[in-house]
Subunit: 272 residues, 2 copies
């Protein structure tokens, strides 16, 4: 999906919601466990219930890999089931070198048909650029994450006071463009999003940490906004586990709709 197409979807749906499909086999309702592929069945119903309210889905690979080949099959079927006009993110946080990264890119972009994949930048340029060579596909690079450990390394300052996440932004924006690169910018420190926005005015941000991890949607929008919206805000557990009963999909739909209404208000107030 191109940047233009993504922006059109945000405008059309009045939403910049990404639903995180962190589907934990141990957390899905019991009645689904008797089906042939419980993880896919769960995702299918979540997608049916939420697809009108979101512009992106983000499965986290860890929850699929732990089921072995069956998990990869659930993931493949899930991605196939997602409507074509919804952006897909393989939250895989991969990062290897050269030819090896190309194989990861082929896995996510060609085999699974995802629009994008999340990338850990520790190994530098040759771990990121192989993902930028696929037309219409995106690398979403970890910059400032929302977890406690983010402070361990991402905030380290160099001699000139420039922090690691700033160096990642600076270098990565030279390797890619706002048409094939986004950044993960956590919501637990909304002011942090504002700092990143000043450094990279044009790129889209994938923002985790709204909801379960505690960030406010209004703050994220205020600090992260750019003229193309420039935000995909993710919620995983808050939506997909809104209920653990037979009404789980309905509850997920209601939760997604509730977030969409807040987003619509934010978008309309900016005449988007």
């Amino acid at each position: 999906m191109t940047r233009k197409e993504l922006i059109e979807q945000i405008r059309k749906k009045q939403s910049f919601l990404c639903v995180g499909l962190d589907t934990d086999i141990n957390k899905i309702p019991d009645f689904l466990k008797e089906t042939e592929d419980p993880v896919f069945e769960f995702n299918k119903r979540i997608i049916d219930a939420t697809k009108d309210y979101c512009v992106a889905y983000k499965p986290n690979l860890a929850f699929y890999e732990c089921q072995g080949p069956a998990g990869w099959e659930s993931l493949r079927k899930t991605l196939e089931y997602i409507p074509d006009d919804i952006f897909t993110i393989a939250d895989a946080k991969r990062g290897d070198i050269g030819n090896t990264s190309t194989y990861y890119a082929k896995t996510f972009f060609e085999y699974l048909g995802c629009d994008s994949v999340t990338i850990a930048p520790y190994m530098g340029e040759d771990s990121v650029t192989p993902f930028l060579e696929f037309p219409g596909k995106w690398a979403i690079v970890l910059a400032l994450t929302s977890n406690a450990g983010a402070l361990d390394f991402q905030m380290i300052s160099d001699e000139k006071g420039k922090r690691l996440f700033e160096k990642v932004l600076e270098k990565t924006t030279r390797w890619g463009t706002p048409d094939n690169t986004m950044f993960v910018v956590g919501a637990t420190r909304a002011e942090g999003i504002g700092e990143v926005r000043k450094l990279v005015p044009d790129h889209f941000f994938l923002v985790p940490g709204v909801g379960a991890q505690g960030g406010s949607l209004e703050d994220v929008t205020r600090y992260g906004w750019n003229e193309d919206c420039g935000l995909l805000v993710n919620s995983s557990r808050g939506i997909i586990y809104a209920s653990n009963g037979a009404d789980f999909a309905e509850a997920a739909g209601e939760k997604a709709a509730e977030i969409q209404r807040i987003m619509e208000k934010e978008l309309r107030s900016r005449n988007f």
Copy 2:
């Protein structure tokens, strides 16, 4: 596998060779492509030919994932086929937070039965520690890698002149112990290995970059040695693609034996 068991194997085989099973479906001999599982058939023959000369095998996940569920099955069968007294490394470079990292750990340690997994430390403590909670299992954390892009971020100095890879070593050695943590330290700058050895005297290092990427085995041993050997030196392409004909396994065995003889000389000269 415990540290004590690993050291015993190094002593017994007079080798600290790790064979990288970066098995690229496009590079394996044609006659194997007619078998049911060409990647596993290739690995099986490589393992038969090299197992007396190495103490570890390291499949890189990218080459298996790109084949979808079939690739995971090839990987699982390969790991099952490796003799129990050989250390196994899932070269996956994973890194996510908390519960998600635990699922990755379960994938590699429980589902695949690997002894260890490589970890990218960008997200900090809660992306590393979940891997340290499995008895007899290891986290192998990227510190100073051997690729060109390693210079982009790993060498950034903080206000006190401490570089990112040093911060990773400093913090990670507080989270884990030399019994459950190793570090990836590239061989392209042998003096770099010496610097790292001074900072972490007791930990094992996984050293890629000998052979195809150009480091010298004697230099790596000189700079990286500790009283328990403390080194696993990896060679991938130099061994598994030593020949692309019908004699590929024999050629791989000869190449592994050749490296083992150099290692034996290094070990004996240190009375190990």
